[in-house]
Every structure is written in C-alpha cells, then in structure tokens.
C-alpha cells in the first residue's frame, strides 16, 4: 500500500514540476527517472588471432593455422564475415575480413526512462518510455582494422575459393560521441 501511496504522490508531484516549462537538452541529460547501468571498459577483437588460428588444434584447417601475435599482419588472424546477397550457390559473397582491434570507452549508460516533457513540446505529446543509450563522450580506437572484399566462396577452405580485396581500413584515435540514443517502438506492432 505504501508503494501505491508513494506512486500516486510522486505522480502528482512530478506532474507539477514537469509542467512548468520545457527543459533544455543539458537538463534533460540529467533526468534519471529510473535505474540503469553505467558501462566502462574495452572490447578487443582477435588481438592474438581466433580459435581457427590455434596451431595446437589439429582439427583446424592448415590455411587457418597461423602464428598470430599482437603485431602480426597475417590476414588470416582476424575474424571474418561473409554474406551471400545474391541467389545462393551461383553468386559471390560480400566479405568483411581480417577484423581486429580494440575499442575502449568510459561511461556508456543503458536505462529506461519516461519522456513526457521537453523536446520543444514533443515530449509531452510522446509521453512514453524509451530505452536510452547514453553515449560515452569518447571512444578510443586502437589498431582497429578490417578488409572489405568480394569472394567466390564463403570460406577460405572451400573448393574454388578466390577472393578480391576492395579496400583495407585501419583506425587509431578517438571518436567523440555525445548525447543519447533513444530507442522506442513506433508504428503498428
């Protein structure tokens, strides 16, 4: 019962506060109506290769068995994604190959909250919950690289495999990302 009383009182209280005037974006960033999670850390892809590169695993095909140190430039040491957007067996594959690198960040937040004010009056009209992804101010890229390619087959081990690299990308440095990403359902479910 105490929860119900608190909820009713808080709704009455909140409706008076938020009805005063639209909030600036800076103030909106501070609204923490509900709980959530603050995430920090790093994500590293294939720093020392992947499981197919393990030379001690005799089940791995020879083409994948490579010595993948942190500084290795061997193109088989990265992760690989091949997508067939054609008509199956008779078409080629679009490939993101040799994916490696580290992304580190401080302060990505994840929470749900109600938007019922602000946004130039649109908030009151919206009056619904959103999933808010609070972007970290900075994401650091360290040795992030990948290759965009076309391939005749999905796997390097497939018979008739032939791949043409289109471009290589390597990124080091910081990217500034500020603000929030709001996710919410819309349209007919």
């Amino acid at each position: 019962m105490i929860k119900i009383i608190m909820l009713i009182l808080s709704l009455v209280y909140v409706s008076h506060i938020f009805a005063l005037e639209p909030l600036a974006e800076e103030e909106l960033q501070q609204i923490l109506g509900q709980g959530g999670v603050y995430l920090s850390g790093d994500i590293t892809i294939n720093e020392t290769g992947g499981p197919l590169n393990d030379v001690s695993d005799v089940s791995n095909p020879p083409i994948w068995q490579q010595n993948c140190s942190v500084t290795s430039t061997n193109k088989r040491c990265g992760a690989r994604i091949a997508v067939n957007a054609g008509d199956g067996e008779n078409s080629g594959w679009l490939v993101l190959d040799n994916i490696r690198g580290r992304f580190s960040f401080e302060g990505m937040t994840l929470k749900t909250r109600v938007i019922d004010t602000g946004f130039g009056g649109d908030g009151a009209l919206f009056d619904s919950d959103v999933l808010e992804i609070g972007l970290p101010n900075t994401i650091s890229y360290s040795n992030v690289s990948f290759t965009l390619a076309n391939s005749s087959k999905a796997r390097p081990t497939d018979v008739g495999f032939n791949q043409t690299d289109i471009l290589n990308v390597k990124i080091d440095g910081d990217v500034t990302l500020r603000g929030n990403l709001l996710l919410f359902p819309t349209g007919n479910p």
Partner: protein, 787 residues
C-alpha cells in the same frame, strides 16, 4: 487427539513394559543396593502394529504396518539396553544402547485413501545419554547426547527405492527445558501449551551415499549448532483439534559449521553459518484427504561466510539472505489473499490433462502413464507469499544487494520414485516474482537500477508465470556420481521484466509462451568447479509483445520468437574471478598497463567464473522428440489488431534469421566440438564513473565534465565529484560488477535471412547465407548500477 495424548501413546509404545512392572523393594534390600551404579535393563523387542492412528477432528493419519525388529531378520527381535542412575544432583540419568534395529512402515494414509505416501525403512544402531531433573519453577530440564551409526533410510514407492546409506548422526544439547506454561492468544482466546527450550543443540551428520536404484548421486555431510525455543499448543488452523507451534531458532555463529555435497571426492561446500528463524503459527491439521501444514509468518536471516565449488582453496565469496514470508489478507478482495500453506496428499494426484496447454499435454500424459489411483507417492498443493527478501553477495568485502525481492504463487506437485529415477511433476505453478533493484556497498545504500545485469546469468528481473513441468532425476553424472535431469516444461501467460524499475515500468516481454525440453542434462562436481553438461535441449520462446513502459499498455515493438536447439552444450562454474586485469591496454604488469594508457585493477581472489559452451545444432541433427528443432529468430510486426492492444500472430510481416548453427570451420557438415564459447570472470569491484556534463546533477551535486564520482565514506550514501582522486578516494568509487569476458567461435553459420509477407505462404530469402568465422572477442567491462 491432543498433543499430550499423542506423547503418552508414543511413550507407551516405545518404553518396555518391564519398566512399569517393578515392585517396591524392602528396606533391607534397599540397604544392600546403596552405592551401586543403578538399574540395568536389557530388552529384546519384536513389535508389529497393524495400524497406528493420529485422529484430528475425526480425520485419521494412519501409520500402517509399523514394525520394529532386528535388521538381519525381520521376524527376530531387536535388542536394547537401558542403564539408569540417579546422579548426585538428583537428576535421572539414562543411557540407552540400541543394537542394530530396523524400523519399517508399510504405508501412511489419510483416512482410507487408496494411495499411500510409500513405505519407509530405517536401519540404525545408537547410543543415547540423557539426564533429566525437575525445575524449581516447575517443568523438567536436562541434557542430551546421541550417536546414531550404520544407519540407512529408505523411501520406496511402487517397488522402487531412494535411499540415504551409511548415515552417521551425532547430536548433543547442553541444556533443554520442558515446561507447561506457554501462553498463546493468536486464535482469539487464551490457551496454555508446552514450552520447549534447547541451548546449544550441536549436531553433525554424514551419509555414505544418496542412492537411486543402487547408483549414488553423491554424499551429504554437515555440522551445525542451534539454540531454539518452541511453544506447542493443542488446536490447529481448522476445527478444534490439531497442533500449533511457534518457534525461535538461532543459528550459532561458528566458522567451522558447514553443509557439504561430495561427488567423486569433489565437494560443494557452504559454511561459516549464522542467522535466525522465527515461525509464527505453524499449524498441523489432518483433513479428509490430506495433511494440512501452514504458517502465518516465517522470517529470518541466513548467512554463509564461506562457499566453495570444487576447489577448496578458492572461496567464491559469501552470501547473506534476509527474508520474510507472511500471509497477506486483502480486506477488500479475498481473491488477492496470499498464504503460506502446504497440503500433503498420499499417493499420486494426476492433473487434469484436458485443462493443459496442448504443447505440454502429451508429455504430461506420458509422464503419468502407468500410475494408478492406488500408486504410492507424495502429492503436494503449495502456496507461498514472500513479502520481502534482500540477498547480498559479498566478494572480497564488496557487497551487492539484490533488494526488494517479492514473490507469491501456488503449485501442485507430485513426487514418486521410479526405476532408478525421482519423478517430479509440477502443474499450475502460477505466480509472480520481482526484484526492485540493487544496493551497492551496504544494505542501507540507496536503491539503484541494474538488476538487469542478472540477464547475463539467465535471471530475469521480474516474471509472472504459469508453468507446467515434468522432471526425472537420475543418479550418475558424466563420471561416477552426480545428477542427471530430463524434463519438459511449458510457460504460458507469462510476462518477463527485462529492465524495469520498482514501479514495474520499463521493458517487458509479455504474453510469452516458452516451451523447453531437456535431455541428459548432467550435474557433476569437479576438482575445479561445478559442471553442467547439456546433452540436448530445444526450446521456443514466443513473445507476443515486447513492450516499452507498462506491461499491459506499453507500446509494443512487435512479436519476437526465439527457437533454440543445442546438443552437448556445457556450463561450468568455478571459483575465482578475473584477478589482475589491465583495462584499456594490453599488458601483464601494472607499470606496462599504465604506460600503455590502460588502467590496472586487482579484483582479488574471490569472485566467480562462468564458462559457457553453446553448441547450436543444425536442424538436420534432430531425431525423435527433437526432430525439426532448429535455431531461428523471428521478428514480426504490422499485425492485425484483434482487440485493443492485442495482435494476431502470423498476420504481419516477419524478418527471419533461419537455422543458425555453429561448427568447426568447414560448414554445417563439419563437427561441432568447439561451439560458441563464452567465458565470464565476474567480480564485484570499484568502478570509475565519470560525470557526463558540467553542472548540477539530479541529486544537486555540482561537478564538471569528466570528474569522477567518489563517495564521501563507506556508508556510500553521499558523494562528490573529484577531478583527480587519490588512492583512498579511489577505494570509495561506486561498486559494480566487473566482468572480464571472452566470446569465441570457429564458425557461426546462418542458413538464410528471410522476409515474409502475410499474403505469401513461404518466406522470401534476402541473404542466402551468412558465415562468420574465427572470432575471438575479449571484453573488460564494469557495469555499475545507477539511479
């Protein structure tokens, strides 16, 4: 029959008649026995009682075929010896030696029930000492020790047995009291009852094996000390007769006490206990077809300072649990009343199969096939209402509290022993649970969000459920002892809170139907942890609406359907977290980490490591029950609205990720020994939380962009923002879960990505395959709950 009559009956049954046939000694005879050691009685006993009844308001609990005999020959007498003496302080001292004896009960029934609870056998031998004396205030007091050895306890239903073999039990009570002066007025009138007290009830136990059909599940042992008071009154919850009990139990704090389960020499251990338990109005009544047990309130605390999984040198931390089960009466609507009750029925009460969802009905019928109304077993109807619980996990002194845990519900359950199996059937398990949020640092810290962090362990923040499930437990894991489980379960009318607040607003999966099938799931304790091998499992989680906001009226993202099919997947839980970690750089020393731009963290020795191997199977691998099972993800929206806020499934547009599976790198025809591996090292650790904008925050605290949130003291209820915290300030950083994770696979293959329009019968393919290979993704993440 009231409690006094029951006790007198039992005493009359158990004590030898020769005790009461003594004749008065003459003065001359008495003068010759002075200074001798007392009275010794040796007795042989073969006891056969056809029916022993306890009657309550006209209903009888019947113990049938009670026999006390020799262990080696059930037609021969067992032997006992009693040595009695009067001690110098006037106490009666009795030492009882019971040579190997068997006590057997053919069956226990309620009135003339066709089914019984099964037959029970207890083999044992024991030596017991007790002294008893009168108290100046009336009543009796004394002390007690007993040692039971070479004991077996066997429960048998329909010719199949579960047994605890080679039991040893030792217990002592420093001082017990027995008085008739307890007063109770909980029923609206005053009644007097027995007051029982035990000071330092210290006991230890061990079992050589817990066996099913001669195969061991493992061994149990423990050591615990309690002090307890109880008040017993005549009259139960219903009618005039019955039994009521209040009790207050303290678990005496002792680092040496423990409970241990051992499998092939490797143990799960929980120890260093402390806590208490209070019971109010525990009642016992015999009804027309069941034994009714209930309580008004049970509250307590349970703390375990030491938890070991396999590796005896590495504790995973400690836990503390505060809980309160209490009845809830809604004066305005009886339908909302919630109770704590247990009804025990003899025999197997089969559920109404026709009332079951079709997805589980056939499995239920097969589960109960072969059982009759006369079959032996145990049936239960259960209700519970957990008003509140707070569960703390403490890792290297850092505490996280899962706060505001509430749950209520009811269930019908049957238990019987079959051919080397324990069969547990559960139907209409209906109820709800929720977790308000987290408190970090202390039990009194402010309530925060973050309970969604449990999602990584497969635990949802809240759930309304209606479950029918059938489980068979077999002895024997992958090697030697251990436990194997086969089961079929169906969740209907289920709502799952994925990320919600204490007002139950957030992201909900609603209208969920969840169909789960498990085969050959084995649990083994290994030298380095607990290992769960999942032989085969397939499931379908069909979410009618993924809603934002309220679970009934929130906006819906549409329908989500997740089908899973795994073979030979594995889950291992082992002690110890990440230890020393470099976050943001690649280094193995603090100096190298700092120079590389990273942050060095020593997360301590405690913590937990969860290693998951998910082997997603290609749809061609299913046979028998699992034929046609596959891994598939479907998202559907733009459906027809059948009623306000409700939508018809399969009437909209779908995107389908069909038949995804793992393999060892050569395609779906290759082996699948590697699977998808996810290793998580989990610790509770201080986290660097930065202010994301300059100005005043929601709690009125001023700070600048990039400054760190630092608590003012260990109470962690106020904070400031600090530009460059020193070492002592860093120890007051917010606590959170620090997870060092690694996800890897050799190949993850998706057969097709498809789109389906409602006007066409089969989906149209967008991508004729997605092949992902050679991924090794490592994360060092700290997740801190925030307000």
């Amino acid at each position: 029959m009231n409690i006094k009559k029951l006790i007198l009956c039992l005493l009359g049954t158990l004590l030898p008649f020769s005790v009461f046939s003594l004749e008065r000694l003459s003065d001359s005879t008495l003068s010759r026995v002075q200074g001798q050691s007392g009275l010794t009685i040796e007795q042989s006993q073969l006891l056969n009682i056809g029916n022993l009844s306890y009657t309550d308001d006209g209903n009888s609990l019947n113990v049938q075929g009670l026999r006390i005999s020799s262990q080696t020959d059930i037609n021969a007498s067992s032997s006992q010896k009693y040595v009695m003496d009067i001690t110098t302080d006037g106490a009666l001292s009795v030492q009882t030696t019971i040579n190997p004896t068997q006590m057997h009960i053919d069956g226990i029934r309620i009135n003339n029930s066709s089914g019984s609870f099964g037959d029970l056998t207890l083999n044992f031998e024991s030596i017991t000492n007790f002294t008893i004396r009168g108290m100046s205030t009336g009543g009796l007091e004394g002390s007690f020790t007993t040692g039971i050895s070479n004991a077996d306890m066997i429960w048998q239903t329909n010719g199949h047995a579960m047994s605890f073999n080679n039991i040893a039990f030792n217990a002592s009570v420093n001082n017990f009291t027995f008085e008739y002066d307890a007063i109770d007025n909980t029923k609206g009138f005053i009644r007097t009852g027995l007051a029982l007290g035990m000071d330092n009830f210290d006991f230890s136990f061990s079992t050589g094996a817990l066996s099913l059909g001669g195969v061991s599940l493992g061994e149990l042992s423990g050591d615990l000390a309690l002090s307890a008071n109880a008040q017993v009154f005549g009259g139960g919850r219903n009618g005039v007769e019955g039994l009521t009990l209040h009790s207050q139990v303290n678990i005496l704090s002792d680092p040496e006490n423990y409970v241990k389960f051992t499998d092939e020499g490797n143990s799960l251990l929980m120890g260093d206990f402390s806590g208490f338990l209070n019971l109010t109005n525990l009642t016992l009544d015999v009804e027309s077809d069941h034994l009714a047990i209930g309580f008004d309130q049970m509250d307590g605390a349970f703390n375990a300072g030491k938890i070991l999984i396999g590796d005896s040198s590495r504790p995973i931390g400690s836990i503390e649990l505060d809980f309160e089960f209490t009845d809830y009466i809604d004066a305005g609507n009886n339908a909302n009343n919630r109770y704590n009750r247990l009804q025990l029925y003899p025999g197997i009460r089969e559920p109404d199969f026709n009332a079951m969802p079709t997805q589980i009905k056939t499995y239920a019928e097969n589960f109960y096939s072969g059982l009759l109304p006369t079959s032996e077993g145990l049936s239960m109807a259960t209700q519970w209402n957990l008003a509140n619980a707070e569960a703390s996990y403490i890792d290297d002194g850092r505490r996280v509290v899962f706060s505001g845990i509430e749950s209520y519900g009811s269930a019908d359950t049957t238990i019987d022993v079959r051919d080397q199996k324990i069969a547990i059937g559960m139907t209409d398990l209906k109820g709800s649970y929720s977790i308000d949020g987290l408190r970090v640092g202390s039990k009194t810290a402010p309530l925060q969000g973050g309970a969604e962090l449990l999602l990584s362990l497969g635990v949802y923040q809240a759930m309304d459920f209606d479950i029918d499930g059938f489980t068979e437990i077999t002895a024997g894991g992958v090697s030697g002892g251990g436990i194997r489980i086969d089961g079929d379960y169906f969740f209907s009318n289920t709502n799952i809170g994925l990320s919600i607040d204490e007002y139950e607003e957030g992201i909900w999966a609603t209208g969920v139907e969840y169909d789960i099938h498990l085969r050959d799931i084995t649990f083994d304790v290994e030298s380095d942890g607990l290992e769960v091998n999942r032989g085969e499992q397939w499931s379908t989680m069909d979410i009618a609406n993924l809603r934002w906001g309220d679970k009934t009226s929130g906006r819906s993202l549409g329908r989500i359907k997740l089908e899973r099919f795994e073979q030979n997947s594995l889950l291992a839980i082992s002690p110890g977290g990440a230890g020393q970690v470099c976050v943001g750089a690649s280094a193995t020393s603090e100096a190298a980490c700092g120079s590389g731009g990273g942050r060095w963290e020593n997360r301590g020795n405690q913590g937990m490591t969860v290693a998951l191997v998910a082997k997603f199977a290609d749809e061609s691998k299913g046979v028998g029950d699992s034929a046609g099972a596959r891994n598939r993800f479907t998202w559907e929206n733009n459906r027809n609205e059948s009623s306000l806020g409700e939508y018809d499934n399969d009437s909209g547009t779908q995107i389908i990720f069909d038949n995804y599976s793992t393999n060892d790198g050569l395609g779906t025809s290759d082996d699948n020994t590697y699977g998808l591996k996810a290793n998580l090292n989990i610790d509770v650790y201080e986290t660097k939380v930065l202010k994301k904008s300059t100005g005043v925050d929601e709690n009125g605290v001023v700070g600048s962009l990039g400054e760190e949130l630092i608590y003012d003291d260990v109470a962690r209820d106020s904070y400031t923002y600090v530009a460059s915290p020193n070492a002592s300030q860093k120890a007051l950083r917010p606590l959170g879960f620090a997870v060092q994770g690694n996800v890897s696979f050799k190949e993850l293959n998706i057969d097709a990505v498809q789109l389906k329009h409602p006007n066409i019968p089969t989906p149209q393919t967008v991508f004729y395959g997605v092949v992902m290979q050679n991924l090794n993704l490592t994360t060092n993440l700290t997740a801190t709950p925030i307000q």
